[in-house]
């Protein structure tokens, strides 16, 4: 399909440069980590890897990680499965809003999710206090537990299951279901005989993504687990780094490698299972069979709204209430309500303004840089042979697939010493976080652009070429205007993810270089729940606003670019 092109010398040179950049950003940190983790193996029982593997805490954290992730995955499968099946296949009303509300938790940063749930339960909950139903003082916070962590991990990653399953349901040809109906199958039989077996690959993909993302999640186990002394692998690394600093880097590298291997094993298993259950489906897809719910429709709609009320509205309401009370434990009423926390946040706390500007600069800078890189990168990837193209995409996906903690440790390892020749130390500066963001989010920006480019008819460019346009003219005059919406959407997604990012910055920040994510986390750890809530409310408003802005762009984008739209 790709048009045959003769690359000029300049083209080849640019392409090599881009490839080197990808390798530097995507592979070098992971390789550096690997080298560190496997170094000094010759020391036998004294080598870092051996020390890590022989520590009881490692195996405990590993078990905790697997337990919470597996339980979280089950919850995500249940929630995401119910929403995907009901919204995609039945005739419930208000689908766009249901989808938007269900997808929102994925975009809300995990530490904000954790914070809002903490405000919902427990004796100090301002919401429960305001309603007068708070448990007695001294009773335990139920969320400070493995099950609490798993519940929130499940809610956070349910949209991943939803998306994967919905994609696979939407590509299910309507005729396959109709053929079963006319053969005599009732709606319920069609479900078990056709829909479940045919969408198995979507379920597997969704479940695996939920598991991997839960495994790498830092915000939720940090906010809920650390106070209870319940450590998973990412929080264990964070804890060690916070206590011992760069002295334990080698051991941390070994621990990171352990999570990395787990995550990659998950990806491999997923690909294997999906390869076995994927069918070449033919027929009219896009509008699957509508199951008529009849008199159950009202009940089903009420059930979906009720679930959303519990997993989204209640915690956010609790967060709002917390941000409006003067202090924790005071019930909210007309007299006590105050915007003091917001005023304090925005005017007096210098650190807030600094964190905000840091996060906005980092996210904005990363978004713009990646947008600038994505177009030429995707354009050249398109022209590679299929095999190389797949390899290059997998390479840039590595830093995003690996848990954030792994990337953070890898970046520290890489930049803890001054850079050779120029003698600049990036460790402890915003520059390090910036580079880590570039590596982590490159794939987020490139994917929509490659999807959009793949849809572009090659003859458009060939026509321009025949008209006499050179490579640069074609890229700027033909390809860029057509790719602009996808590029822009990729940029907004990067911004959305980066502005709230916690996992990477939690390990890479230093005084003066706080990010919004770190600040909310630190405020809550320091007992300033009201201030943390106020800041979290602002963050949620920012996220929802950006998501709505992307919605407005939706009909100018190819399918699948905006995760919560189809």
């Amino acid at each position: 399909m790709t048009p045959v092109m003769t690359h000029g010398g300049q083209q080849r040179w640019l392409f090599s440069l881009l490839l080197i950049l990808i390798v530097l950003l995507s592979l070098v940190p992971s390789l550096r980590l690997l080298v560190e983790a496997l170094s000094d193996l010759g020391q036998g029982t004294d080598s870092p890897l051996w020390r890590v593997l022989s520590a009881a805490s490692t195996w405990r954290a590993l078990w905790h990680s697997l337990y919470t992730s597996a339980l979280g995955m089950s919850i995500a499968l249940l929630l995401g499965g119910v929403f995907a099946f009901v919204i995609t296949l039945t005739d419930v009303r208000g689908k766009p809003w249901l989808v938007f509300c269900f997808m929102l938790p994925m975009m809300i940063p995990p530490q904000v999710t954790a914070l809002s749930w903490l405000q919902l339960f427990g004796p100090a909950s301002p919401l429960l206090n305001s309603l007068g139903i708070a448990p007695a003082l001294g009773s335990p916070q139920p969320l400070y537990s493995a099950q609490g962590i798993a519940l929130l991990l499940g809610i956070q990653s349910a949209p991943l299951v939803f998306m994967a399953l919905r994609t696979s349901l939407l590509s299910l040809p309507r005729e396959l279901v109709e053929a079963a109906r006319i053969s005599g199958a009732r709606q319920t039989q069609v479900w078990g005989h056709m829909i479940l077996p045919l969408t198995r690959s979507g379920l597997i993909a969704g479940g695996a993504m939920a598991f991997i993302s839960s495994l790498g999640n830092f915000g939720i186990p940090a906010m809920l687990g650390i106070p209870a002394g319940y450590f998973v692998l990412p929080t264990l690394i964070y804890q060690r780094m916070a206590s011992f600093g760069t002295g334990v880097l080698a051991e941390m590298a070994a621990l990171s490698m352990l999570i990395g291997v787990l995550a990659l094993a998950g990806v491999a298993l997923q690909q294997h299972l999906m390869g076995r259950s994927r069918f070449g489906l033919v027929g009219h897809s896009g509008r699957p069979h509508d199951f008529a719910l009849g008199r159950w429709r009202g009940w089903m709609e009420a059930a979906l709204v009720a679930i959303l009320a519990v997993i989204l509205v209640a915690p956010l309401a609790a967060l709002m209430v917390s941000s409006l009370v003067p202090a924790m434990g005071v019930p909210l009423s007309v007299e006590t309500a105050s915007l003091e926390a917001f005023r304090e946040m925005l005017s007096r706390q210098g650190v807030t303004r600094r964190a905000m500007s840091n996060s906005l600069w980092l996210a904005g800078g990363a978004a713009i840089t990646l947008m600038a890189l994505s177009l030429p990168l995707a354009y050249h990837l398109q022209r590679l042979p299929q095999r190389w193209q797949g390899l290059a995409i997998s390479t840039i996906e590595v830093p995003y697939a690996l848990p954030g903690v792994v990337l953070a440790i890898a970046c520290i390892l890489l930049f803890v010493r001054p850079l050779p020749i120029i003698q600049v130390t990036l460790y402890g500066t915003l520059g390090l976080i910036f580079i880590a963001y570039l590596a982590r989010f490159l794939v987020v920006c490139v994917k929509p652009v490659t999807a959009s480019l793949a849809q572009l008819d090659p003859s458009l460019e060939e026509a321009a070429q025949l008209a006499g346009a050179g490579p640069w003219r074609r890229l700027t005059g033909i390809v860029f205007p057509l790719m602009a919406p996808a590029l822009f959407a990729g940029g907004i997604l990067v911004f959305l993810l980066a502005v709230n990012e916690l996992t990477v910055s939690a390990l890479l920040w230093s005084a003066g270089n706080e990010t919004l994510g770190v600040l909310i986390f630190n405020l809550d750890e320091g007992g300033e729940s009201v201030l943390a809530s106020a800041l979290a409310v602002l963050v949620v408003a920012l996220v929802a606003g950006l998501m709505l802005a992307l919605n407005l762009l939706a009909n100018r984008l190819p399918k699948g670019v905006i995760p919560w739209k189809d």
Binding site: P173, A179, S183, G184
Partner: protein, 357 residues
């Protein structure tokens, strides 16, 4: 066997009328085709018969059984119909035998009886050897035959076919047409066949319903549709032919079939031949008249025509003629006629169409 009756059925999607007040009475065991250009509502009508769409108005009955009206809607699984889809709709996670056996299994039949029925159905379409293959390994024609076997395995009284040949190449179509004819003869089921290809419908169906913009244009046998189409649009849609615009002659009322003499008289009268210029009646009511190419002969005497184009079609030449008043005329000729030459033609038969379009 029961007849399928469609009474004043309409279907609206929002403001869009997909089908408007359609009525058909289909005899038991009849092979019926729904034909029309894309977007004419024929597939929507078929889906209403199957029960995938609800009717907005009207009612559908099978024998004495009410299938659907505005108040009631029998779900597809209770209609005991079979359907063949354009995309075959074979379930990729089941083997060929499982696909064919699925409707049998749903009727609670198992064991030897089940296996015998599946074997027989596969034997009818000559695919016994592929029983354990995956449908994904079959060719297009084989897949369509599996779909057919899946239909006949439960001996349904009505089989619906939705553009079943659209995905096949020209060579396979001919053999699949034979397969459908055979299927119809063997089962005696009522077949409702949707297609946009009028040639396919003409060669297969006992009766054809032609639809346009959701409305029924004509409901007749293929012969009647070809010889006596009701409107100018239909005359152009089915088969080839030319349409002359002729005035009512003195004392002659034009209606229905016209023989050669009357046609030639009127044509001369209308000034299609410059020889009779002084008797030309240019005023008055004009009616469209269809002349099929096989009813035009090149003769020594008759209307003057010029050969605009002569195209070799294998068994004959197709001539695009132009009459004196520039009316185009399509004729056949067994031998080549040079382009640009002047000829004379005789019209031996015509069909007077309803006025208007």
């Amino acid at each position: 066997m029961e007849g399928l009756t469609i009474e004043c059925v309409s279907k609206r999607f929002g403001d869009h009328h997909a089908v408007r007040s359609l009525s058909l009475a289909i005899e038991p065991g009849e092979f019926v085709a729904l034909v029309g250009p894309s977007g004419c509502g024929k597939t929507t009508m078929l889906r209403m018969l199957a029960g995938f769409e609800q009717v907005s108005e009207g009612r559908i009955t099978l024998g004495n059984r009410l299938l659907a009206d505005t108040a009631q809607h029998l779900p597809p699984e209770q209609r005991n119909m079979g359907m063949v889809f354009q995309s075959y709709a074979l379930w990729p996670h089941m083997s060929v035998a499982d696909n064919v056996g699925y409707p049998v299994k749903l009727r609670g039949i198992s064991g030897d009886d089940y296996r015998r029925r599946v074997r027989e159905a596969l034997a009818l379409v000559e695919l016994e050897a592929y029983a354990e293959s995956s449908p994904l390994d079959l060719s297009g024609g084989q897949r369509q035959r599996v779909a057919l076997a899946r239909c006949l395995v439960t001996s349904p009284s009505v089989v619906l076919l939705d553009e079943p040949l659209a995905n096949l190449d020209r060579h396979l179509r001919a053999s699949m047409e034979e397969c459908f004819r055979d299927f119809h003869r063997r089962t005696g089921a009522t077949l409702v066949y949707v297609t946009h290809d009028q040639g396919e419908a003409m060669s297969l169906a006992d009766r054809i319903a032609v639809m346009k913009d959701g409305e029924l244009v004509q409901w007749a046998t293929p012969e009647t549709l070809y010889r006596e189409p009701r409107s100018e649009w239909l005359a152009r849609f089915i088969g080839q032919g030319s349409i002359l615009s002729l005035p009512d002659g003195p004392g002659q009322v034009m209606d229905g079939a016209m023989d050669g003499a009357a046609l030639m008289a009127l044509a001369s009268h209308a000034g299609l031949s410059p020889a009779d210029e002084h008797t030309t009646a240019r005023a008055g009511r004009r009616r469209p008249v269809l002349v099929r190419p096989e009813h035009i002969q090149l003769t020594r005497q008759g209307l003057d025509a010029r050969v605009e184009r002569s195209i070799f079609r294998g068994e004959r030449y197709e001539l695009n003629l132009c009459l004196a008043d520039r009316t185009p005329l399509l004729a056949y000729s067994p031998c080549a006629v040079p382009e640009g030459s002047e000829v004379k033609v005789t019209l031996s038969q015509g069909w007077c169409l309803e006025a208007g379009t």
